[in-house]
Symmetry: C2
Subunit: 333 residues, 2 copies
């Protein structure tokens, strides 16, 4: 409970018998320092347990060494992916000696304004950017370094990172086609997600449809309660009795879809093949284990931070799409 007077750079300087600025240069490496002096300083740092004061450092250097992570945190989000993403962002940021300030989208554009103007953060990572997102114009105007996860309608001059969802949808369709399936369906996100204009759902559907040229292919939204899923699945097979391939792009519904198929007496993969677009652990936990396309949330987080750091250093940073990866398991043939 004792509140020790905190150790300052001056204490370190005194202890090592050098000037304050010398300590600073040892720590930042911005000027050459002789090996012996450096050694002495570092020892003093260790001996005193010195940690630079973040506020003072930020004030003097105009760099807070903190980035903001703006998460949607609204209903209907894909939580596991979000968490993986957040984890990898934090870990990667730490590698670059930065910390992460957590913000929720419900603070809105003002929140972004606030943290940027107060120099609380050096840059921004915005997740789940929508096709027409009110934050995008602000971001442009602010000129604050930022990286978006997802692609807004007009991505010109912005740095965006995302999974290539069109490719993911296509991959699924192609895999089913290669298995000889002639009639396939995509069970997508809940209807509200399409209405909101979240790009990824739309792009998956487009990729799926385009790749299914030549086959009979339908794409339908999919809610997330068991009863609604069961209903949707039943309807699907009523309308398309010849359906033998199913793509599920809705993590919360995956389990329900399998249960519904079981209830309908259709076995997987004998009667119907199922491909899911979801994290590996969900696919592996299902029965049978699902052939799936991975959402590489960790890579996305990692790349996003990498790009942001480049921008902070004044380097150019181009948008990028990450390649989806198909893993074949037991649910398709």
């Amino acid at each position: 409970m004792r509140k020790v007077r905190t150790v300052t750079i001056a204490d370190v300087a005194r202890h090592a018998g050098v000037a304050v600025s010398t300590v600073s240069y040892v720590l930042s490496g911005k000027r050459a320092i002789s090996a012996t002096t450096r050694q002495r300083v570092l020892e003093s740092v260790r001996a005193l347990g010195y940690h630079p004061n973040a506020g003072a450092r930020a004030l003097a250097s105009k760099r807070a060494n903190v980035i903001a992570l703006v998460l949607p945190l609204r209903a209907g989000m894909n939580l596991p992916v979000l968490m993986q993403f957040a984890t990898s962002v934090v870990a990667t940021a730490r590698q670059f000696d930065h910390d992460v300030l957590l913000m929720t989208a419900d603070e809105g554009p003002e929140g972004i304004q606030r943290v940027a103007a107060s120099a609380l953060v050096d840059g921004l990572l915005l997740m789940d950017v929508e096709v027409r997102d009110p934050r995008v114009p602000l971001l442009r105007e602010l000129g604050e370094p930022s990286v978006l996860i997802g692609f807004p309608a007009d991505a010109d001059g912005l740095t965006c990172v995302d999974l290539d969802f069109a490719r993911a949808g296509a991959l699924c369709a192609e895999h089913l086609a290669a298995g000889g399936h002639r009639e396939i369906a995509l069970l997508g996100a809940p209807r509200v997600v399409y209405e909101r204009g979240t790009g990824f759902a739309e792009r998956t559907r487009a990729g799926f449809t385009a790749a299914a040229r030549g086959l009979t292919a339908v794409a339908v939204p999919c809610e997330e309660t068991y009863d609604e899923v069961a209903e949707t699945v039943k309807l699907l097979f009523d309308r398309h009795p010849g359906l033998t391939g199913l793509v599920v792009h809705n993590e919360a519904a995956v389990g329900h879809v399998l249960a519904a198929l079981r209830a309908l007496g259709r076995s997987v993969p004998e009667d119907v093949s199922v491909v899911a677009i979801c994290p590996d652990d969900v696919a592996e936990r299902a029965s049978p284990a699902l052939t799936s396309v991975l959402i590489p949330a960790e890579d996305v987080g990692h790349e996003a931070v990498r790009l942001l750091m480049a921008k902070l250093d004044g380097l150019p940073a181009d948008s990028m799409l990450l390649e989806p990866r198909l893993t074949i398991r037991e649910s398709t043939r």
Copy 2:
């Protein structure tokens, strides 16, 4: 892209024709300022779009107005609860004019050390504290204001917040007993969680067992893949043919348990009543909708922040347990 020279308090003072300190006092309210001056200053603030520089403020006032949120972010966590919690922490912190720095537990005690010593944050919120947590002794020694979510073995002198899991377990048992069930079972967390000594799983079991005095009651760990769950459920009914009441304290397994019961031809609630300990949305999404005990993640987050703020103001803050709430739906009779 234009990088505007940022507006400082000196600019505001000049614009309003007052001293810098006057502006500061208007903004902080720490000294009386005449209504007219205050008005003038606030107008200048608005006119110039002034936002105080966070670093400078932190340096001068020794308060960063940031708290750290340390999340486990390891496998096997209950994601939705975590997110709800995080969201409410951020929202509540903002109400107190604080921001939230996100940290993951894998930085370990050094991470805590670092942010505390560098005055990056004023206080800490640790989630998912284990019975014997290596961070607890450090926290004691550091004397940094903190609030823990969960109870370590020795909670003396620490402020902890948690759901009253013992009560939650008891509530489930009592509800089943009241429904006339004589033979009941608890399906708990995966075995590894018990081995890790995470308190909540253990405490739920204890509460359940104690409240089930007079009934036949068993408690078993429960893994999270469909196949393992189905196996566990089958075994349970093989060994206890008279079993009619089930408590599930494992969010990831809830769906699988229901599916397994369906597969065994036991209908809910006719043959067996099921109570889940999980968030409401999971309970409602199941079929039939589950009678459940709510984990009030939002309240926990809110209270945790409230307590931490009190500590930052030098006020005392006692540990507290939050009352669980049973909602009766269609899965029990």
